[in-house]
Symmetry: C2
Amino acid sequence: MKVQTSDIFEIMQAELRLVDERVARAARIDFPLVSRLVADLVRARGKRLRPILLLLAARSYDYDRDRLVTAAAGVEMLHTASLVHDDSIDRAAIRRGMPTLNSKLSSGAVILIGDFLFAQSAILAAATESTRVVAIFASALGDICDGQLREMLDGHRLDQAQADYEKRIYGKTAALFASAAEMGAVIGQAPESDIQALRAFGADLGLAFQIIDDVLDFREHSDVLGKPAGNDLRQGVVTLPTMLFAAQLPGDAPERATIEAIVSGEERDEARIQAIVDAIRSSDAIVRAEDVAAAFADRARARLHILPDPETRAMLRDVVELAVSRSS
Amino acid sequence: MKVQTSDIFEIMQAELRLVDERVARAARIDFPLVSRLVADLVRARGKRLRPILLLLAARSYDYDRDRLVTAAAGVEMLHTASLVHDDSIDRAAIRRGMPTLNSKLSSGAVILIGDFLFAQSAILAAATESTRVVAIFASALGDICDGQLREMLDGHRLDQAQADYEKRIYGKTAALFASAAEMGAVIGQAPESDIQALRAFGADLGLAFQIIDDVLDFREHSDVLGKPAGNDLRQGVVTLPTMLFAAQLPGDAPERATIEAIVSGEERDEARIQAIVDAIRSSDAIVRAEDVAAAFADRARARLHILPDPETRAMLRDVVELAVSRSS
């Protein structure tokens, strides 16, 4: 059974609209200027993979629709809050094709707006009135912060193991995918084995998603992502393509020293940085990183056999497709 | 019955130690540098009025001690997290007599550490396994952000009503006092009327506390608070002493124009700013602001008659004393 990925949005349309309304309502804030900026941010929504995953994880089971929509809105809001702080930390100017808040407001205001959105996401999680959902939510927030701290404090070393990278992107990205799937299954009162399978599915899906994100960071032009290609490396963050590229260099290769200098912030010469970005981009490190993502995607798909409903299984497989076969 | 305020800490010693341990454990983070900074921050604890209030609110009733300590640790952690972001927003260099994180780390790292502490506070709230406690917690977080946004966006006008000021400090400070008392009473399974009385007590106590804070901002020397006297006004934030001082000036008084220029950031001449700070400081606006705080403190005390246990009532009255009769 094959559901067209475009169908997912159609099949889920009614529930996604409820989620959007719930998010918009929660983001309402009674200062005109900030209110408009936050509303724009929420409207310029991304792919909404996390709420879709949460909704689908409940779909084979018996769920309370209002609770499910509330949790899905909470997950999307948490994701949005973390993007606001992320952009402020990275001093990013563009996100989702729009100027970021920190290109328009003081850094203090951006911190507070991010906190406000975190608070709203916590209020949504609490409104599910499920202590288990709240506990999953709180620990996802903890994992996200852990992943981001790891990236900031530990991501700037070229000599790290692939396991360190995976731990980092698990926290930064995969934990919320895992938690979204788990929350949906919990609200659906799924059997415990299904809850665990869906959580593991979400984690693998999230890892595949983030690796593709890190590949796209090298591959895309700035007009698509709003950032120069190789933005992570320019910020000193070592991701899988850089790691795989460096791993096959001889120990005394000059490129290794250059990458180390870029990562430590010593190398600031644009031409030399661009040359390394181009070298990584045209190397087989890109395809090999995609292979790692594909392996996680396969592992995710393999976890689905336990689910009772074939249509939902097919839709979840298509979510995997959406996550790995994207251009941005 | 009169309990010496010094006795409170003695009577509550065992439970406060458990709270401290719980906070320290939750703040553990697996990066050596950050771990040390966060541990210092948590150890250099303030007066711990919020956890004390939470513990006392349950004291007349039948509570589960572990749950109570967990909630108290959550409240203290939430307060600490919000101070971290606050100091980063204000670019403050000293807090609790110690250099702030933002005097030592990049602003991005400080945002993430604040988020990490928020996450830990949410994990503690979730660990109470009470949906009502979690809902109170989440809405307190929302109120804090609302109060801080109000201060940032609306606090820079001299022509505001006292009610606007009170709404702002309610969110910024009193909401967490109210919520701490409510959580304690909820965990104590107090009758609903007692829960509401304790929540209202906490709110009034918090308002009194913040007004005294705003008075001390004018009265104290920099060696006590680590900030110059009149720091709020220097940052453009209008608090009660400034409002009361301005309200009794004739409409065309030159001081009014000067204050407006300081608040809008146009007046940067240190001598002229200091002259206004001194004028407010030596005016009766200080005593009148203290009178407003005293009225909230009285209202707080009057709410206590409903509580069953006289010793706990006396201790809560002494918490009011601690909050309003302090030098910093």
